[in-house]
Symmetry: C2
């Protein structure tokens, strides 16, 4: 299932290559074939080098861990930061491509492309919040359907070409020189196509999910996946070349190829729709890999105090839930910024993947050298090649695609700064909380003063005063009065005294409609007096709890605000008295 | 400034008419001239009838108040609900048209249309949260610039036509019969153009903002505005007809007309860019009217308990802030759903305006009849005409634009249901809070038990125990232990007892990583025991308050959760002990 990320990339891989070549006109499309071949060679070597990582880190490596352990903190954080963004891009690119697959088949929906993408993300988010990974079996269905359908597509296409049923429509025959073709353009096209290689990372991150022997199974999966991907990628690129399909704004290349191969009539039409649907589904499953990888990575970063603790909260999968929600929000923001365009997201996606690729492969080389010594070449060779390829692709992207990838270099320093600020803050707080040797702040108090906020005399306020009397040695009822409501305020005071004749009732006057400031001013005064008497001071905010949690949105805004503002004052404990409604 | 809403509608009014006519081909464009005339006649009569409302409700009427008072609750809520949605659409349509104006002038930004719209909304939101209305003088600049620039546009266009400098390029001469032209299509085009009438409502809502004599000034403003709008609308429609401009996907009709009239070279180019910028700015100001109207309407609805209290919170403009944020979020959601397309938002916008128009005019007729009796015709005539026009437009929309406006009929019942549910809930709660005659729950307690949650022994936990001893007769320190951390937990217990040898230390064991459930189970047990002893029970959650509010996001997730879950238990008061960090 983890292969979905890599396999699904064929839905946009060929198209991305062809799109770049199209700048020279459709005659240049045949170049996609040699480019696809180079991509496949790279895939093979990256696969070999990632098998090394899987064997070395059977507990689940990932670029963050490998880079941190072998190169250093900074390298690890760069890898981790890139991957955080990259998982958002994985989700964004996959759902955007999924929406493209859907709207290619159903053009009437084309205007709603972005909306479809966002809905897909929200559905995936909810499924993951509900604990998708535990019942993930059904996710295999779209993966297998897609694999079967792609095999059928390639077989039908091959048969029809061999039997001469599908005429040769290539825009230009193989090997024709196209004027204006340059190495730069080829490298650009290649860098776009290399986005198809990005799925290799997902498997090495997820080794712990495999059956035992984990590392062996994961490595085998990687091999099989690379083989399938190779066949699919070259098959589709060839079919695209043969049919002479040219990218258009509203229909994906893959959809055009499929509709040509399946002839789009009779039973072929059905096949075409199943194929498009399977494409959309595998892309959704691919987006889902981001939803398992992101929370795990943010958990690891939070454990090392580079990300907020909320990503590693104990119990009830809460930390993971925070990761899942952050990922979904991030992906939606990226989609809105880039208007749901796969074409513009993919260069960023590539740089975000190949930087950690390069770092983790470098880390592996360093590891072998340290562990094995002089003879490390034997083990490190494939990692060296992997690192070389990754650096080369990063370099190509840097030189030829800078107009597309500059946001990466804007975001990364910000992320690194955040990582270090968070780390600094946590260290700082830990120092302040630690008990200093010999210093024990064991002040003893002689009692407690309680201020109860009273609006009207209701069941809530009566309960609150009763509670206040149980904890306090001195109880003060406080009521805020404005000029306009003076008569009503006097009534409240009279009614209050019929129930509690012995409790002090303080009327705080406020000339404007701001009730927070006068309350704080009064509370501060009482706090000073209590401190002198060695009393603690409790401010009790009565509130009621509605029967259903969602009803909270209708109530208690004022007590939330009051608690918030009072929580910043020293020497004051803010407490809520909750009255539970039964209906 | 309030006129901006109406005046800005010329940025899309002509275009909407032409777009519908284009379904018959560009030859049909000349029909936009008679349609524009009809729209102007309607504008005149709507203006007259709205002047009546202004005179009758000098304290600021608006469809909600007028309909509720004169027809009934239900009619008022339909008008109010429509307007709530409609203000979101005002914001959405205006910023989308503003983004169109910008990207028409700067085509390189075209792909970022939606993003530009969203950024505009967020900027308006922040400006309004900061209290824009108090320094609103500078908003007049774009309005005047736009008025001046449009006058220049019409004058230059007129001059060039009269001097023969701008050749006659109309796609078809006036009066030519176009095959396929039907009354249905004309009515459709007319209903699209009538979106330009929607600004009339904004002024009648905002009478309180005018200088005294308010009603007279407001009525005068309405008259002047209608005159300017009439000149602008017919001028631009005529220029569009003369130049034969046809709608295209990426450039607005108004932008094409302006670039033709200003000849787009030399000084004309500068004029063109100023004009486009002024258009975008007046549209932003128009969106801003939504930001003053929405919070006021939601305040009125909240006062009558049909909307959550949070829209009428006292003090610090908080209620208005909630309204402003809700409006911005709603507008952004609408934009994303409709992909930032003015063309698809406008039919909804029209139905959402003309339903409350019709209701408030009906309300006025009823009011005159009740107040004046038999001779009410004299006063009610203009309102009767206004109501008639509004019903007619609603009917046209209903019959010919149903495929575009059906969401309105889906959303309105939901909104009405929510209004009534909220009202029902508030009434229900008020009944439960009211003290029943003779029933006084004045239970007296003999003391208080305090449970303090202790993780580690830090400055925070020591302070918390000190406080707990000041309020409690019995203090229990509670620590949750998991299998994995058993050794560390024993250490915590030992360390705790060196500081507080006399405080009970309860170790709660939990076999899994969920610490909420065991805590609740234990607390429930203690609660039962305390209740028997006539003790209240306080659960004290220690937490620390970082120096800067934003740092809260890095901390205390666990104590927030704990408080949340405990807040649902009866007979337990949850309190936080806050330790303030100094650094």
């Amino acid at each position: 299932m983890l292969s979905s990320d890599a396999l699904s990339s064929i839905a946009y891989g060929t198209e991305q290559i062809v799109l770049v070549l199209m700048t020279l006109g459709s005659a240049a499309i045949w170049y996609s074939l040699p480019i696809a071949l180079v991509v496949l060679v790279l895939l093979a070597s990256l696969t070999l080098s990632y098998r090394q990582i899987i064997h070395a880190y059977p507990q689940g490596g990932g670029a963050y861990v490998v880079s941190t352990e072998n190169i250093g903190n900074m390298a690890g954080l760069v890898a981790g930061g890139s991957l955080l963004i990259d998982y958002m891009l994985t989700v964004g690119v996959s759902v955007a491509a999924g929406a493209d697959a859907i709207t290619s088949a159903l053009p009437v929906l084309h205007d709603y492309n972005l909306l479809i993408s966002i809905i897909l993300i929200l559905v995936l988010m909810l499924m993951n919040l509900r604990g998708l990974h535990e019942s993930a079996g059904f996710l295999l269905v779209p993966v297998y359907t897609f694999v079967v359908m792609t095999v059928v597509l390639i077989l039908v296409g091959g048969m029809r070409i061999l039997t001469g049923d599908m005429p040769y429509h290539a825009t230009n025959s193989l090997g024709t020189t196209v004027s204006g073709m340059s190495l730069i353009l080829l490298l650009k096209a290649f860098s776009s196509g290399s986005a198809s290689l990005t799925g290799v990372e997902a498997i090495s991150n997820a080794v712990p999910f495999f059956k035992k022997p984990k590392a062996k199974n994961a490595a085998a999966t990687l091999g099989i996946m690379a083989l399938i991907l190779g066949i699919f990628f070259s098959g589709i690129t060839f079919l695209n070349y043969w049919t002479g399909v040219v990218p258009t704004a509203h229909v994906t290349v893959l959809s055009q190829v499929a509709s040509q191969v399946f002839n789009f009539s009779g039973i072929g039409k059905t096949f075409y729709y199943i194929f498009q649907f399977a494409t959309a589904m595998i892309l959704a499953v691919a987006a889902n890999t981001g939803f398992s990888a992101f929370p795990m990575l943010s958990y690891n970063l939070a454990k090392n105090k580079y990300m907020p603790h909320m990503y590693m909260e104990k119990g009830a999968r809460l930390g993971y839930s925070n990761g899942i929600i952050s990922l979904a929000v991030g992906a939606i923001i990226l989609l809105v910024i880039f208007n749901g365009s796969t074409e513009r997201l993919i260069p960023l996606y590539s740089i975000g993947v190949f930087v950690p690729f390069a770092l983790s492969q470098t880390g592996m080389v360093i590891k072998w050298r340290r562990e094995i010594g002089k003879k490390f070449w034997h083990k490190a060779l494939s990692n060296l090649i992997g690192a070389g390829i990754s650096y080369a692709i990063v370099l190509i992207l840097l030189i030829f695609r800078l107009p597309d990838i500059w946001p990466f270099f804007l975001i990364m320093p910000v992320i690194l700064f955040l990582f270090y600020s968070i780390k600094h803050h946590y260290t700082n707080v830990a120092n302040q909380l630690r008990l200093q040797n010999g210093e024990v702040v064991a002040r003893t108090y002689t009692g407690n003063t309680v201020i109860v906020l009273i609006g009207n005399v209701t069941n809530v306020s009566i309960g609150a005063i009763n509670y206040a009397r149980s904890i306090g040695d001195e109880v003060i009822a406080m009521h805020v009065s404005t000029q306009e409501t003076l008569d009503k305020d006097k009534e409240v005071e009279t009614e209050f005294h019929t129930y509690f004749p012995d409790v002090t009732f303080s009327m705080i006057e406020s000339s404007y409609r701001d009730i927070v400031r006068p309350v704080i001013r009064y509370v501060d005064l009482v706090a000073k007096a209590s401190d002198k008497n060695d009393h603690t001071l409790t401010v009790l905010v009565p509130q009621f709890v509605p029967k259903h949690p969602w009803q909270n949105v209708l109530h208690n805004q004022m007590s939330i605000r009051m608690r918030y503002y009072l929580s910043w004052r020293d020497n004051i404990i803010v407490s809520s008295y909750s009255y539970h409604l039964k209906k």
